[in-house]
């Protein structure tokens, strides 16, 4: 599962490098926050899969919903002059490490039990 996810990310990176798509640099802040949200979703998905309670609907809605909400927050913060995207960075960044810690524990426990 984990390997599959990483292989997917790798393939995506390769595709992205050769895709002739660029966007305005002014959107890069929103996209970077959205990327953080997506990364968090994928880690959450891996963790859920290891815990054997993976739910496709929750995963997909979380992936897109979190990304859109994070980008939206960054946009609104820009409009208001308050760096609201910090909220997204702290929430998703914190959860990313938490998920990663749980994934590590699950993997090692599985290996020990075998």
């Amino acid at each position: 599962m984990i390997i599959l996810a990483f292989v997917g990310i790798l393939i995506g990176v390769l595709i992205g490098i050769y895709l002739p798509i660029t966007y305005s640099a002014s959107y890069s802040l929103y996209v970077s926050v959205a990327i953080l949200a997506c990364l968090d979703s994928v880690f959450g998905g891996i963790r859920a899969a290891l815990e054997k309670k993976f739910n496709t609907e929750i995963f997909i809605s979380g992936f897109f919903g979190n990304a859109i909400l994070a980008a939206f927050l960054a946009y609104v913060g820009d409009r208001l002059g308050v760096p609201l995207y910090y909220a997204a960075i702290f929430a998703f960044g914190g959860r990313l490490f938490q998920n990663f810690a749980i994934i590590r524990r699950l993997i090692f426990r599985k290996r020990d039990s075998n």
């Binding site: 599959l4 990327i35 899969a49 496709t56």
Partner: protein, 245 residues
């Protein structure tokens, strides 16, 4: 359950690929020096842009003016009835006026500045009671700021090369000595010039009210300022800068 799990894996892979695409696209942006853009930065940049735009407009206007001048000269040259020397004479007169080589007259003010003649000495300091070259210079600057077009001190026209030098009880202007009382004549808007000398906290006011010097300003309908006599006409060091150099 197995079916659900399979589709989950497929989705996980698909979305991972999407994440990878986004990642690499973002990296491809190669944002150098990515910085937080605050409202203040934006405002500053806007100001900068406005200033540069203004500059460009000024330059455009300048080229427009030069084009018109060129056009005028061309028509005069082409037209056989008109004489180009007339036009050139006009130009020379204008330049003479600008460079102070012409006697000028017009509305303005006359200022008389004299030492404190009273017996009672303010602060027991003789230096507080006499007019200094620096006082004159500050007053001249005040007058220029108030829009004075021509200034003379005791009949000496003040131009770009005029020195105002302390010589003990006298001052030296254009290499010639002047004794107090100093009569400064300036052409310009009389009310503005008068205010530049008499308004509270100007240097003229300070001299009169604090140092008790004699500072009198008179608004005149017509004053006369003589032309500038060049002591040294040649410019040894300053040479005109050619265009495009």
């Amino acid at each position: 359950m197995s079916n659900q799990n399979n589709s989950g894996i497929i989705w996980l892979i698909i979305l991972s690929i999407l994440l990878g695409v986004l990642l690499s696209l973002q990296m491809k942006q190669n944002i150098d020096d990515y910085d937080l853009v605050s409202l203040k930065n934006i405002q500053m940049m806007k100001n900068e842009i406005n200033n540069i735009r203004k500059e460009i407009d000024d330059i455009k206007e300048l080229t427009e003016n030069k084009k018109k001048e060129l056009e005028k000269l061309k028509t005069v040259i082409d037209d056989e009835d008109e004489d180009i020397s007339e036009l050139l004479q006009d130009e020379i007169d204008k330049l003479k006026l600008v460079s102070g080589l012409e006697d000028v007259q017009g509305p303005g003010i006359r200022i008389i500045i004299d030492d404190n003649k009273d017996e009672a000495v303010v602060g027991e300091q003789i230096n507080d009671d006499i007019v200094h070259d620096a006082d004159i210079q500050i007053i001249l600057n005040d007058l220029r700021k108030a829009g004075a077009e021509a200034i003379s001190i005791n009949g000496q026209r003040v131009m770009s090369r005029s020195e105002i030098k302390c010589g003990g009880p006298i001052i030296r202007v254009n290499g010639r000595s002047s004794a107090p009382p100093f009569v400064i004549t300036a052409i310009g808007d009389p009310k503005l010039l008068y205010a530049a000398i008499n308004a509270p906290n100007t240097h003229g006011w300070l001299l009169r009210e604090v140092h008790k010097l004699r500072v009198e300003a008179l608004m005149k309908d017509n004053v006369y300022v003589p032309k500038y006599y060049w002591a040294e006409q040649d410019f040894k060091y300053a040479k005109p800068k050619k265009e495009g150099e």
